[in-house]
Symmetry: C2
Subunit: 329 residues, 2 copies
Amino acid sequence: MTKRPPTIKDVAAAAGVSIATVSKFINGQQRFSPGVEARVTETIATLGYRLNQQARSMVTGRTRTLGLAILDVRNPHFANIVKGANRVALAHDYNLLVVDLEEQTSHERHLLEALSGRVDGLIVSSRVPDEAISWLSDLGKPVIFFGNLQREGVHCVRTDGHRAASMLGRHLVGNGRKKIAYLGFTKARWNAEREAGLREAVAEAGLSLITHSVDWPTLDGGQQACSSLLFGAERPDAVVAYNDLVAIGFMHEAQALGVNVPVDVAVAGFDDIPVARFMQPALTTVNMRSEEQGEAAMTRLLAILSGKAEASGDQLFEPRLVPRASTAR
Amino acid sequence: MTKRPPTIKDVAAAAGVSIATVSKFINGQQRFSPGVEARVTETIATLGYRLNQQARSMVTGRTRTLGLAILDVRNPHFANIVKGANRVALAHDYNLLVVDLEEQTSHERHLLEALSGRVDGLIVSSRVPDEAISWLSDLGKPVIFFGNLQREGVHCVRTDGHRAASMLGRHLVGNGRKKIAYLGFTKARWNAEREAGLREAVAEAGLSLITHSVDWPTLDGGQQACSSLLFGAERPDAVVAYNDLVAIGFMHEAQALGVNVPVDVAVAGFDDIPVARFMQPALTTVNMRSEEQGEAAMTRLLAILSGKAEASGDQLFEPRLVPRASTAR
DNA sequence: GGTTTGGCGTGAATCGTTTAACTCGGCGGA
DNA sequence: TCCGCCGAGTTAAACGATTCACGCCAAACC
C-alpha cells in the first residue's frame, strides 16, 4: 500500500527493453520477437504492473469513459436512465461514471467539475441550475441533456410532458371525474409542462384544475401533502401527482384516512416506475420512457463522439398512457 | 468544440507571467501584487480557462474523488448505499463516482479498471467475482467492501444476515406459522447466511424449512417464482424472500392468484426499501441498514485516506426487524 | 551603509504515458 | 554487389499541471 506502484519505466528496465516497446506491447501495436514478448509479458505479471489511465489519457486526449449526472439515485426514473445509458455504453465498449447531484444541495458544481474532467462526454439532467447548464455548454466536450430544457443550441432528449399530462387528463375526464387536482413539484422544469397539459385536457371538458404542491418529489412528500389536498377548500375526485413516488405516497395516506381509491378519488402519476403495477390498487401512470431516454441520450452522445455531426435540438419521445386500477371506475 | 481548450500555459502567456505563477494563483498558495492578480484573474475569465484535473492528479497523486461500485442501481438497497456514501463524501469535500456493474454480465473488469484509475479509494459490493476481489486487493489503493465477504485482510462493512433471518424466522414462528419457506437467490453471497439463520430459527421450533429460489432478485423474479412455490410439493404458510423486491413481486402474484396475504400466507423480505411500508398489506421486512452501511463504508475509507490506520476486518451492523401487516395474524 | 530578511516571481524537473521520427540489420531483387 | 525496403526496437518530445530551488528587489535591521 505504501510503495509506489510500478510504472511502465520499471517494466522496461526489468525486461531490458525500452519504454516505447512496453507501451506498444501493451497496446498491441506491433509484432515482437519471441524473446521480447515473453520477457515483457512475464515482467508485467511479476511486477504487478497496472496501466495509469490518467497518464494515458493525458496524451491521447480520450478516456473511453462517459459521465452521467442525475439528481437522485433513489428515484427509479433516474435509475432507469442510468440503466439505459449504461447498457448502450457498455455495448460500445465505453464505461459510464455516474454522479448523484443530490438535488438542491449546491454540490453540483464540484461534482460536475470532477466528473467532466474525467470523461469524453456527458449526459446531464436538465434539472440543474441555469449557471451549470451554461458552464457545461462551453466545456469543450459534448453534452446531452435529458428532461425538459427550453434552450437554443443544446442537445436534449425528452418525453413530451404536455402530451403525457393531457393524455392522463382525458383519461380521467373520460372516466367521469369532475374535480381533478394536480399535485405538482414546483421546483422541477417538467412541472409547468405537465400542469399545462393537464389544465388543457381538463379545460376541454369545461372543468377547472385544482392545484397543490409537494415539498419533495418523493413517497414522503406525497404522503405529507395528502390531507391538506383532500380536505382543502375543494375536495378532488381525481389526483394527478408529479410522479409515481408522490402518487404512491398520496394514495397510501388517502387509504389510511379511509378514502377509497379509486372509488372516492382516482390517483395517477408519471414515469411508470417498476413497482407501480404492484401497488394495491395498481397505479395508473404514464410511461415516460425513462430507460429509452437513457439509451437515446447515450446513442446520441456516442454518435457525436464518433464524428457523426448531429444538429443540436430536441429529440422527443411519445409518452404512453398506462391505465390501471387506481383510476378505474 | 473543435479548438483545443486553453491551458495554464496559454493563460501565463496572455497574462505575461510564468506558468508557476498561474499555478500558484489557481491554488491560492501565495499573495500577489495587485497588477498580477488582476491580470491573471481576467485572463482566466476571458480565455475560459479550465483546470485539467488529470494533469493535476498526475503530479499530486491524489484526486479528491472516490469510487463506488454497485450491482444494480434499480435495487433500492444499492441506491441507499449510494446515498449514504455520497452524503458522507460530500460532507468531507470528496466527490463520489458511481458505476453500475450490471450483475452477471462480466463487464466488471473494465468498469472497475476505469473507475479505480480515477479515484483515491473505492467502495465495492462484495458480490463481485472472486478474481475481481483479489485484483482490487492489491490495487495499491484502499478498498472497502460492503456485503458479506468471508475473507482475511480486507475491510468490510456488513449487516448480520444470519441474525436478520433468524429474527424474521422467530417472528413468523411466534405468529404460529408452521410451514415456512425461503425464497432465495443462490448467486448472492448473502444468500447462504440468510438461509442458515432462517433454518436455525425454524429448527428451534421443531420445524423444517422449505426452500425455493428465484432466477433474478427483482420484482419480476419474485412474481415468476410465486406459483411454483405456492403450488409445489408442500404449500407454505409463510414465505421469506431474498429481498423486498422479490417479496413484493411474490406477494402481488399470490394475491392475483386469490391467496390472502397474510391470512393464508405471510410474506416478508429483507432491506426495508422505502416503498415496503406503502404496500397493501404493508410488507414485513428486516432493515439491513443500507444507508448506514454506505455511510460507514465511506467514513472508514476517509479515515484510511487521512492516515488513520485501520485494522482490516468486518464492521457489523445489527439488523432491525420491522413487523408489518404482511405477516400479522 | 552593508547585510539580512521576506515577499513576489521564475525556471526547470517531474508525474506516467503515447507516438512521431529515427536507427539498424537482414533480405530480396536487379 | 548494391540498393531499397521492411520491420523490430529506440530516442525524445509531447500532454498539462505542480513544486522545488532559486533570483531579485525593497524594506528592515544593526
